[in-house]
Symmetry: C2
Subunit: 163 residues, 2 copies
DNA sequence: AACATAAATGATATATTATAACATTACAAG
DNA sequence: CTTGTAATGTTATAATATATCATTTATGTT
């Protein structure tokens, strides 16, 4: 499956203890402001997603939780992940049934992703896209859009170069 | 779950033996042209999706197949559905883990959907959208998009009116 | 601080979705 | 007609996700 421990943001390498810490602080601050409980469990799950920096299935998260001695049954992972997704700290990649930490924690945005089918790296697009072609059809039919999922499958630069 | 037998295209009712027949003919013609085998099983699965005219899970399809006496194990349904999706006769709705017949069989298009979270009705957008905000990010990073998934969750007109 | 209430977590069980692997049949090309 | 390929049948199991109920932890109120 994915490229073991490539630790890439986007498709390039980078040092990243920093962005992890920043993201955790941001989540903490947000939860403080909104009276949400940023519990040790939820924090740990977010740390796991940030640490791995790629899309992780719920059971992969669960394994890492277990290693950390923090809960070991599926609902534990799913509940924490739901919390993170609900509040925008993480996103679910529907095509992969997997979860990634949000790469744009400060910006209000409709998530959009590029998923490499070779290495499974997931990159969150930088544009705060929210109005697509859909909006025309939507307003025509009276459909009220609440949330959009935009995922592009393809091949990333480094995988293309290898071939 | 979904609205039993609402049989709606988009969110409005319509007579629809016609569009079923048309879609089947179109698929048949396409398969002829491309040397694909439009087998009784594949035809039946497409008929099921067209008939129901909403997103059906693989196991729902399988139940209907079974009723029709045409195969009864999961791989049978999944294989036929894969074929239909691969050749554009149907689409997978990732958010629902479900499948719908393509509503725009003649037009080359990136599918885009609106999904009502109350009645699960799925409408395929009419615009042949294929270039979104993603394309900028994609070209910047050298990512080559092969396929996009665009799904909007929300509430359809009739469900909104009920409330 | 003591209590009531709500929120989160723990734990068990099970539902739902999907695929691997191998056997068999159908069908087309040489 | 036999050989290769694609499709289907069949069994088993993997991977993903949730329902339910018990317990603990946090929060707000007196």
């Amino acid at each position: 499956m994915a490229s073991e421990t490539s630790k890439s943001v986007g498709f390039e390498k980078h040092d990243h203890g920093l962005c992890l810490e920043k993201a955790i602080k941001a989540a903490e601050a947000y939860c403080d402001r909104c009276n949400l409980q940023f519990t040790p469990l939820r924090r740990k799950v977010l740390e796991i997603l940030l640490e791995e920096h790629r899309a992780l299935g719920a059971y992969a998260v669960l394994d890492l939780l277990r290693e950390a001695g923090l809960g070991s049954q599926p609902p534990v992972a799913y509940r924490a992940l739901s919390f993170l997704v609900e509040h925008g700290f993480a996103h679910k990649i529907e095509r992969l049934n997997a979860f990634v930490a949000c790469a744009l924690p400060d910006i209000l945005h409709s998530p959009a992703f590029m998923i490499c089918r070779k290495c499974d790296t997931v990159v969150e697009a930088q544009s705060p896209s929210s109005s697509f072609d859909l909006s025309a059809t939507a307003s025509a039919t009276g459909f009220e859009i609440e949330q959009t999922t935009l995922e592009a499958k393809g091949v990333c630069n480094s995988c293309a170069e290898m071939a």
